[in-house]
Point group: C2
Chain length 307, copies 2
């Protein structure tokens, strides 16, 4: 049996948060269902941030409410910036909550208005609150700017490992190392993954990669080669970060899934159905440029059919 | 000292052969000099094919003549399809000659109008002729469709190795394994490279990759990891193959060099000067779409300055 790799589609959150035009709530929900129908096991459907901060995601509570009748096969994940966001997400009934924390001081202040050390303190409070609730909702921390920062520049492996250690000690369930601005290169990916895993073990869950400098897929390959089996990605390579100047789109789901399946990993995702979800995205956001090579070329005739 | 990786820029040949508009000879020569000024050590400047076959490259003899006064620091390579082309290239004074040979029967007939077996026979005649000449001009064979074919579909590792063995036995100096249509994936790259090297040793020189399905840079990484230290690439990801339906651009020089230099390999190439060569390409071919992520994002502040 082929080894499984888990894709978390972050397009409805990371992708839409900087889209120039708005997608209607109805279109978003239909798009999310089309992503789930393609077999994506985890979808980050929005963010419990105040509407004034990211107006594009103001309808997240509404979206989550509409998804509550979905089959249990796939996970509804949302982002939350703080304890209040976590409480709102929990009460809305989501399956999993992601919290962004920055490794670099500059991005942390710009994006979250707190230092990395203050984020760790906050995370302990959040975990205390979550553990006191009757329902178990896993919390995944995203270690942003783990490979470099457009504000602070170089981020050392030591800095990334130290933040992840603090998060693991605070009791988070999973950690994603995030190349928020897309400065990472493959050798660095391997170094930081190995150093982090040496420190915190399997709490290191996966990688969140951007394709700013064209190395997104190569960085995913580097991660795979050092044992990473979970990736965030965005359909059509949408995304960026409003508080990270120069950041461009996420690694493209279509191209990433094609690489994984071609190499014999199993993602559970049907690429033809991903193309259908892409068409739905385009219909809902016609002015947004869509990235990705595979969708332009089509699936090669040599591509093995998933078992 | 950092390990060297050799880039051969094939834009003036592979890139321009399917460009929709024409670049003047004067602009081509200026562009080639700008590529050399960026530190690219080998440049494929054109093709000695009959002008009616590829009219975009009809001025190759003129370009080569104009380059004869260049400093010896960089290599003028041209493509030649057969013995007559090799003779013309040799007599024009080029430094190195590349000959395309196809692994798959379908691409071989469509592109070269001969079978792979007939290509090997031809290659023996070419090597006999070349060895009888007073000047040593290295011959590099490109093993096209080594990882898949848009006409024949799957190409097996065994097929690729068998062709390379025939080429090595014929006495060619170097062989490039070419993913002409961009169907390869990283695990396949490693498998074919290793199997080929087991059979022919260091005559296997490098990889010629396309980015059709978005895996070009990841495939380069896979090649690097199994010891490949030479790559063809195209500035701005130009290129394709007129006889391979569905093939899209070559791996992008700018992004590839960025990955290599970031990982600590030395290419001798100055990325800022590559951007200048890109601007010159755009001036000469304003209607041609240019690919590449790094040129859009700019060089990250974390990028180490080459020693």
């Amino acid at each position: 049996m082929s080894e499984h790799v888990t894709i978390c589609e972050v397009g409805p959150r990371d992708g839409l948060q900087i889209a120039k035009t708005r997608m209607t709530t109805e279109d978003k929900v239909a798009w999310i269902y089309s992503l789930a129908a393609a077999g994506i096991p985890e979808i980050e459907v929005g963010s419990f941030v105040p509407p004034r901060v990211i107006p594009q995601l103001a309808d997240t509570p509404d979206i989550v409410a509409q998804l509550m009748g979905k089959p249990p096969k796939w996970t509804v994940q949302v982002l939350a910036p703080n304890l209040r966001g976590v409480q709102n997400a929990y009460n809305a009934g989501v399956d999993k909550i992601a919290i962004p924390v920055s490794v670099s001081e500059g991005h942390s202040m710009a994006n979250l208005n707190r230092t990395p050390a203050q984020s760790i303190v906050m995370m302990r409070e959040i975990m205390d609150w979550l553990k006191a609730q009757p329902r178990k909702v896993p919390l995944i921390a995203g270690a942003s700017t783990a490979f470099g920062c457009s504000i602070d520049g170089v981020v050392t492996t030591k800095q990334a490992v130290a933040l992840c250690k603090g998060l693991a000690d605070a009791g988070v369930d999973e950690i994603m190392l995030a190349d928020t601005v897309g400065y990472a290169h493959p050798a660095q990916i391997k170094e930081v993954v190995k150093a982090t895993r040496d420190e915190i073990g399997p709490v290191l869950h996966g990688l969140h990669l951007h394709d700013t400098c064209g190395l997104g897929i190569a960085n995913a390959l580097a991660g795979l080669e050092v044992g990473i089996r979970a990736f965030d990605s965005c359909l059509a390579g949408l995304g960026g970060c409003p508080y990270a100047p120069g950041a461009s789109g996420n690694v493209v789901t279509e191209d990433l899934v094609f690489m994984l399946e071609s190499m014999g990993f199993s993602t559970g995702i049907d690429i033809e159905k991903l193309f259908a979800a892409r068409a739905m995205l385009h219909a809902g956001l016609p002015a947004e440029p869509l990235s990705g090579q595979l969708p332009k070329a089509g699936i090669p005739p040599t591509f093995r059919k998933a078992a």
